[in-house]
């Protein structure tokens, strides 16, 4: 919190609660408003975890085929960016698994990294190749078949997989602006966030550079979320970088460990849950985040 501007968004003495630790690589943070509990994953530890305030942590799915990003669809079903399965999969209300995306034009996709749902029910996910190359995160098939690393969209009926953006080196975090007129996607190799205008049909327009992350500390552009005033929260060197809607950095929230992703949570969506490599932290902010909306209320 190096500049006073950020005190507009978070108090200097905001709490820093560690609600889980002992992970090898935390990711996939997600608040369930319906269940009032928090989900996340340990990629290397091959587990989807769940935490309920006052009750503690429990294993939700293990093994998880190294699940990565999580979100809910409009019906409240858990959607998983399946890192090592090289698929996007859905957990039905009865616990069974449905695969939503596995191949594009007949070729296996890379390794879905993070995932977000638009209010019309369309699913967008980044398809970086990390599970094909990263030590400790390997898929069963390590071959990259697609000659690009892109962003895909699954149509609201779940039937159509289309390529939305293809010119990334390593696409990772993605989030919509509050009005969903822009989609932000970052690139972990280039440490930039780009913004794309979203068309009525769900495709996107030409990219514009929204923000380049600066800092010499450990940390890269990874998880990314947006608050209801359009501020963009993105992991980066030294912690979580907060960027205003014009693309200017407001400040940073520092964490004691390498941050990987974050999610808004609690009833007022003013808690910020942050996964790091080894832990999950929770702090409080002043402006609510964009909720993960499911039918029957956020």
């Amino acid at each position: 919190m190096e500049r006073p501007d950020i005190e507009r968004l978070i108090a200097r003495d905001a709490p820093m609660d560690r609600i889980a630790h002992g992970l090898t690589f935390g990711e996939g943070p997600l608040w369930s408003a319906r269940e009032k509990c928090f989900y996340w994953v340990d990629i290397v530890g091959d587990t989807i975890w769940r935490w309920k305030p006052g009750r503690g942590c429990e294993v939700f799915i293990r093994p998880s085929n190294k699940a990565n990003g999580l979100t809910f669809d409009r019906k409240g079903r858990l959607l998983v960016a399946g890192w090592s399965s090289r698929t996007v999969w859905r957990v039905e209300h009865d616990g069974s698994i449905t695969t939503l995306a596995a191949r594009y034009e007949g070729k296996k996709i890379n390794s879905p990294n993070d995932i977000v749902v638009k209010s019309d029910g369309a699913i967008y996910f980044t398809d970086s190749p990390g599970a094909l190359y990263n030590v400790g995160m390997q898929a069963e098939d390590l071959q990259q078949y697609l000659p690009f690393q892109g962003v895909f969209r699954i149509s609201p009926d779940g039937k159509q997989l289309s390529l939305v953006i293809e010119d990334f080196v390593y696409p990772n975090g993605l989030a919509f602006a509050p009005d969903e007129k822009a989609l932000y996607v970052n690139d972990s190799r280039l440490n930039v966030i780009r913004a794309f205008d979203v068309t009525a049909g769900g495709s996107v327009g030409a990219p514009r550079l929204f923000h380049k992350l600066e800092g010499s500390e450990e940390g890269v552009a990874d998880g990314m979320k947006v608050d209801t005033q359009g501020n963009v929260y993105c992991t980066g060197p030294g912690g979580v970088h907060v960027i205003d809607p014009a693309g200017k950095r407001v400040g940073r929230i520092k964490f004691p460990d390498h941050c990987t992703n974050m999610a808004w949570g609690d009833d007022d969506w003013r808690s910020l849950y942050v996964t790091t490599r080894t832990s999950v932290y929770r702090t409080r902010v002043k402006i609510p985040g964009v909720p993960v909306v499911t039918e029957g209320g956020a």
């Binding site: 090898t24 690589f25 290397v44 190749p129 990390g130 094909l132 190359y133 990263n134 030590v135 400790g136 995160m137 390997q138 069963e140 098939d141 390590l142 071959q143 990259q144 078949y145 000659p147 390498h258 490599r277």
Partner: protein
């Protein structure tokens, strides 16, 4: 007999590395380009065998038409399968991630012997897993359930490079030592016991140093049909320069030939009579000397 080298492919970006003669064509890796290419001596054509290899260096043919590779960028041995997929083998030695495999050979029983030196180059992904506190020759073999497991073979190496088995597989040749560190650069012959462990080694050849620095040791080697070791070593910086040696099983140097470029990397016999020697180099070429007066084994 003077060997006449001709350049048959390259230069590519960065060094060329592992070589494998397939019977009619030659596979060779272009490490930094992340490719394995195929050279056809009948047409002179170079085609792509595989992309996205993440710095695979040493390669060796396995049973069932697969090709094993030392994927340095991901710290593991992988199998490029005939159907175009790529499978991992095992990656843990006693529960820990091993180092950066560099060179390998496959024995008649299908076991994979590989050198596992340390490296300064970062592997892909978050830097979670430290390197081992030793750099050894390791061996992949199948357990009773047909799953790959890794065993440690040498306990007295600090920088193993090239590995090779004698025709009867009773001797393991190891080129130990790297110019970037202290310690000997020498060719060792380890007796292989019936249980697969190795005994005390004999030194077949030692590389020295002069006022210009340490002499570069052996980086690649193969067998000829008489059980001699054909080894490429040396550099322009010091010593006699980049060279190819033919060394008998007892350590007598039978022939030396100047290499056609600096930093020779690997060598393998090929062509219809198996009497051509192919050579890769630090400058990123593929060379060939026809009519060497020697033949490859098998």
């Amino acid at each position: 007999m003077k060997w006449q080298f001709e350049r048959v492919a390259g230069p590519f970006q960065g060094p060329t590395g592992g070589l494998a003669w397939e019977g009619e064509t030659l596979l060779f890796s272009v490490i930094n380009e992340g490719k394995i290419l195929r050279y056809d001596p009948r047409s002179g054509a170079v085609t792509e065998f595989r992309r996205y290899t993440n710095r695979t260096n040493g390669i060796a043919l396995g049973k069932h038409g697969g090709l094993y590779g030392c994927q340095e960028g991901s710290r593991r041995i992988i199998e490029f399968r005939p159907d175009g997929s790529t499978a991992p083998t095992a990656w843990l030695l006693d529960g820990r991630y091993h180092n950066f495999p560099n060179n390998l050979c496959v024995d008649r029983g299908g076991r994979i012997w590989f050198s596992d030196p340390h490296s300064q180059v970062r592997a892909s992904g978050p830097q979670i897993f430290p390197q081992l506190d030793h750099a050894s020759v390791l061996r992949l073999e199948r357990d009773e359930r047909h799953a790959w497991k890794i065993k440690r073979v040498t306990c007295d190496t600090a920088a193993p490079r090239a590995v090779l088995l004698s025709p009867d597989e009773r001797t393991l040749y190891v080129a130990e030592g790297d110019t970037g560190r202290d310690g000997p650069r020498e060719l060792r012959a380890y007796p292989v016991r019936d249980d697969g462990s190795v005994g005390a080694y004999a030194v077949l050849h030692t590389f020295g140093s002069d006022h210009r620095g340490a002499h570069r040791g052996i980086e690649g080697m193969c067998l000829d049909s008489e059980g001699n070791i054909v080894a490429c070593a040396g550099w322009k910086k010091s010593g006699v320069g980049p060279s190819i040696y033919v060394i008998s099983a007892s350590g007598t140097i039978l022939e030396t030939h100047p290499a056609p470029a600096d930093m020779p990397m690997r060598c393998a016999f090929g062509d219809a009579g198996l009497d051509s020697l192919y050579l890769t180099t630090g400058e990123g070429h593929l060379y060939r000397a026809q009519g060497t007066g020697r033949r490859g084994s098998r």
